[in-house]
Symmetry: C2
Subunit: 413 residues, 2 copies
């Protein structure tokens, strides 16, 4: 295969290729264990919530018409026909001119459509209640099915479960849900110059930083990282490790192939796998251009730049959303899934047209103003630029940059 035929593709084209991979399988888990995972089924409400009209306050259940327009100076007078308990299902219908004492959480009788808080009433004796405040239908009550009506589509497959969603599932009596399992992500570091991080500094060696940052990013994204250590620049060794990693994982990340030689080795190793192909060889983002996407069987393999900060940006820009897609999340690449912070740009920031730039930015918070965002300049080989960064500013491929004073969106990291 002649790799000269590969041309650099845009980020959007690269995402489209990533989108062709299917999500991992599903399993049933307790709702408490579903938080942060993605639903593999639509959730239909099995019942009405609340199951009946309920009072939100201690007070009197009324028909709002009977208390309409009531004030301190011009109260309404109603006859109290019952004193309801919280666990009582009233079997009578409230008649015009009647009310019923009701506790918080109590079920409203038929004929009642609102609750007047006890502090706006006065017992006058002989069952007469003075109502000193006007009432509107639905006031201080939760209506049957107001939170969820039986048969409602509550959450769609592809929705990421949040704590508040777990609350609604619990309230509906749903104990288990089907979610996509955590994808397993194999991480292989490649390069003759790489040494374990506890090796002493030696000229010509570089400690294997990427295994550790990738592991953190993969786990943070909600997947399960599996490290395969450092593989030397030998095709056979790389093939053996890659084959094992593909068999054991849903996605394999190779890092280190930033030199032309290593990139070729990565491509060769991917191509030597059964039923494999190279889908992309280069993406028009900076940093991150030399990223490779391959397929072995139905499993994706990504060849990432070896440069320590480039690989971090590629992980954030492409791989973390891709992991969410493998986890089953709908629109995993949509930018609204990222937390964007608006800021005022502190200085002119230029970019080469034709590529999407991910500029590391530092935020300074200011009282009563947008935070100030300053680009962090520094050699891309330095780790400290990512350490100092609060966010990334994306300069689109069709833009030459932004001016100082422009309002920009930073993607919080």
């Amino acid at each position: 295969m002649n790799h000269e035929f590969f041309k650099i593709i845009s980020r959007v084209e690269f995402e489209a290729l990533l989108n062709s991979f299917a999500a991992v399988g599903t399993k049933k888990v307790s709702i408490s264990d579903a938080c942060g995972l993605v639903l593999g089924e639509d959730i239909i409400s099995p019942e009405d919530l609340p199951p009946a009209n309920r009072s939100c306050m201690d007070g009197y259940a009324v028909n709002a018409r009977d208390a309409f327009g009531a004030t301190e100076g011009n109260p309404a007078y109603l006859e109290c026909s019952a004193t309801l308990k919280v666990d009582e299902n009233p079997d009578f219908e409230l008649q015009p001119g009647e009310c019923a004492a009701i506790p918080t959480g109590g079920t409203l009788p038929d004929g009642a459509d609102a609750v007047v808080m006890v502090e706006h009433t006065q017992e006058l004796g002989a069952g007469t209640i003075e109502i000193r405040k006007s009432s509107a239908p639905g006031e201080h009550t939760m209506l049957k099915g107001e939170d969820a009506a039986k048969g409602d589509l509550i959450f769609q497959a592809g929705h990421k479960v949040r704590f508040q969603d777990v609350g609604l599932l619990a309230a509906l009596g749903i104990k288990d849900v089907t979610i996509h399992r955590k994808p397993r992500v194999g991480i292989i570091s490649t390069g003759d110059e790489l040494v374990e991080i506890d090796s002493p500094q030696k000229v010509g060696t570089i400690r294997d930083v990427n295994s550790h940052t990738l592991r953190c990013l993969v786990n943070d994204a909600g997947a399960e990282a599996v490290n395969y250590g450092i593989v030397r620049d030998e095709l056979e060794k790389l093939e053996n490790t890659l084959e094992k990693a593909i068999a054991e994982n849903d996605l394999v990340l190779l890092s280190g192939g930033s030199s032309v030689g290593m990139r070729d080795l990565t491509v060769q190793a991917i191509e030597s796998m059964q039923n494999s192909e190279i889908l992309a060889h280069g993406v028009a983002i900076s940093p991150g251009k030399p990223t490779i996407l391959g397929r072995a069987g139905n499993k994706p393999v990504l060849g990432l730049p070896g440069q320590v900060t480039s690989v971090q940006v590629v992980m954030l820009a492409l791989v973390v959303p891709f992991i969410r897609q493998l986890m089953g999340q709908t629109n995993a690449f949509s930018s609204t899934d990222r937390v964007l912070v608006q800021a005022e740009l502190g200085r002119n920031t230029v970019s080469k047209p034709g590529r999407e730039d991910y500029v590391r930015m530092k935020l300074t918070y200011r009282e009563g103003k947008l935070p100030l965002a300053e680009p962090i300049y520094g050699k891309s080989g330095l780790l400290k630029t990512m350490i100092q960064a609060d966010g990334l500013m994306i300069i689109p491929a069709d833009t030459e940059g932004f001016y100082a004073g422009n309002t920009v969106n930073l993607w919080k990291i």
Copy 2:
């Protein structure tokens, strides 16, 4: 103890009380397992990173003075005195008029302070190199100690470890770090009306939603949730469960005590613990006013509102940052630790002065404009208001609200 003496305190006062509790203990872990946890030690750089001046490009190491002002039309000519390898520690000094071929990552010889990229040079034979581009000191090189100098304070105790920090630690050869262990958080649901979530709907019973949402929130915050199930409204049973939970955890959360009776029972149970006291009984936030803070020995106990959405807001506003403080994080209550999204308020939103309001808000993203934020009105007993919310808008206690069109900060949830 007469609880009438307790007055509602402000959120700031409540946080000051929470701040009096010490962080949990520390332990040493591998840097790969430190991500998301908080450092329990200052990290001092043990060496210079990079350890020597290194080339970022393939090219020629030069003294920038010798190539200053060089252009295509007016090149400089230097004699190539050596061809360096990536693992070579040069033992010579570059003389004026000399250059040395150097690969990416190679160590610069003494006397060289910049690298000219190979594409801006031409070999003319007999060791003469034509330099076609001006060079500046430091260009295309990483200077010794530029990422971290030996003895630099890299991270302070109290810093939460992020993926990029793990990268710097790895590059410095630091394999293990001391972090605060995950706090254990006991969760007790209280209330006679509560039933397990798989119980059928029955008038007068409420499924135990809070055990599940609290568990998710606690785990999301980075702690370890331990559930103690539902305890009936009996002092002795509550005391027994509370005692066990205090012994086994770093923090205990009681939820369900929103009625006056339950609040009293919570207070009594806390007071019956050894060496205990009630520190606060009510905080001026809405929702969340009936929150109780106690101490048993040196361990905090929080009595949370039972109302399903109130307890979620109190968790976000107070308990999640408190958990981060227990995890050792510096300034855990600082609002810059929260992700704030600026938005345009879609309608006038009023608040009672004297309390801090946490208004649930829905965001609509718009092209080229601030997102539009609309308050979600709905009875506070409804779960769906939190389901629909993208963020919380905080209306300070000294403010009566905001106007439509105001620029507001939403705290992304």
